[in-house]
Symmetry: C2
Subunit: 315 residues, 2 copies
Amino acid sequence: MATLMDVAKRANVSKMTVSRVINHPDKVTDELKQLVYQAMKELDYQPNLIAKALVNNSTRIIKLCILEDIDTTEPYFMNLMVGVAKTLDLHQYSLQLVTRRNFGIGNCDGYIITGMRKGDLEWVQKLDKPVIMFGENRYGLDFVDTNNKAGTYRMARLALEKGYEHLVYIGIDSKESFEYSREAGYIQQVQENQMIPELHRFGNHSHLSEEFIRSHWDEIQQNTAFICASDRLAMGVERAISRCGGKVPDDYGVTGFDGVFLNQVASPKITTVKQSIIEMGSACGENLLDKIKTNASPGNLIFEPKISLGGTLRD
Amino acid sequence: MATLMDVAKRANVSKMTVSRVINHPDKVTDELKQLVYQAMKELDYQPNLIAKALVNNSTRIIKLCILEDIDTTEPYFMNLMVGVAKTLDLHQYSLQLVTRRNFGIGNCDGYIITGMRKGDLEWVQKLDKPVIMFGENRYGLDFVDTNNKAGTYRMARLALEKGYEHLVYIGIDSKESFEYSREAGYIQQVQENQMIPELHRFGNHSHLSEEFIRSHWDEIQQNTAFICASDRLAMGVERAISRCGGKVPDDYGVTGFDGVFLNQVASPKITTVKQSIIEMGSACGENLLDKIKTNASPGNLIFEPKISLGGTLRD
DNA sequence: TAGAAATCTGTTATCGGTAACATGGAAAGA
DNA sequence: TCTTTCCATGTTACCGATAACAGATTTCTA
């Protein structure tokens, strides 16, 4: 591997000049710059990031903190992780996965945090390294998220356009901001159409929504579409309808939210609000590295969700 | 952050002595060692891995090469990645995900490779850094894998014990070693019971196995158990039987292989040969780091699979 | 045109460790 | 007792980069 020194020798300049060409090119004459560029190309020079890290006294480690108490085998978080890892690796940063328990251990250059609750606000604000949140929040912390409200709003409209006459919302029993936003999107669409909102909330497990539908099957009107806050819940609803003898999508519609793997393995596939989790993870990484480099707040980044058509809304 | 120097000063010794206490403790008297340990504890000394990496001229980067042409959203590979990442992060190594395309780019300290085909053998053997394969191979390259043969062998026996009279194998249409081993396990069990093996192979997609079962429904005998080489295939089989009016598990049995998420979302859940992909990924990492450190081949590591009971074999 | 200011380039010290060599005192051999 | 060997420790140089300072030109100003 060629070093700064090798390049310097070949270009007949000092190490420092080479370093300047890389970091402060305006402080070097064009003539020397050309020589140095030439030498770098000939030697295929790649800067040694470890040496750089040493002088900057950085760790090149980013901590990804998943504060929710969740199974790491869940594809949703894996996708997030892959997205983050992709970007970090590109910049030769290392990703460290941490939870509540092992949070404080070891140094790092920045944090990506998801699943924050109110009680966490205090210590999150005290962190002395740059932070990006994954998931909207109302505390002014920089975040990356999907436009949750727009997601359910548009999905609800789509269901109406497809001719379903009743819209029931099946939500997640959680106090997090994203859930409020999804509910708000549904409610707005329903109210704009002079309908009365009907919301139910459960823990995010398919068997809970399934059980609910089965036990209330008699009260459910034909031509209802269920706007669900997750693909898990949608999967349960779909299964329940099917087992109760209902027809999806002809007599009942079902829509999900997330679009991470689960929607594809259901049968028929779930029409869902697709979040590009991997891309969002990458964006978290980009924003964080930016924040580390420039020391300036990148603000919020909101991804517009796309509707991924499956077979749970009629055509 | 306390440095070697800080510790040295507090213990009234030279930097070198502190370094020796850490790396060659036998070359330092007990008396000094005590002083140094004391000082390290008082200052909560953590060695700076970046500085270490610089002198060793290492990158602290490990490349995970997924040579199969596969969707990265697949939970299987994500689990592998998480497992690897877990271990590497513990040792402050960085994980880089590479494919065929970007393989050669950039330096690293070692490789974890999965999905190797015959044609890859040549360049894999030429790599100048330590390598661990994920997935069995017959070329003498160190690997970590599940005992594939034992998996199908035991699963087939279980199906027989549950009273299914016919065993049909639904395999993956691939020339990789793991598939041969799974087939071998099934065949051995079947032959030990004086039965005649029946194997079918498809690309690893649920709709392919589903289509096969549906189109051959008339020829399928009651009380058959399908031993599938993946949960995907099993899912397709399960769905087909259900749609053709068959009863799982009463009249037909279905078993899968992998146990990574998919088996849990099917309904009923698939009885499957569970591979601990995350642990295996961790093991790949451990073995590779070991190999890097000691420069000695760790040999192969074979995980015994466990049968994860779902509802697709009768009780 | 002398002297000051600005511009460019090189030298030195530094980040936090480790290897290789140097030193000084104790144990061993003559 | 005097050398030789050994062992524990310290000194120096180095890994590959960068910041701060120093020196050499050039340009500008009076």
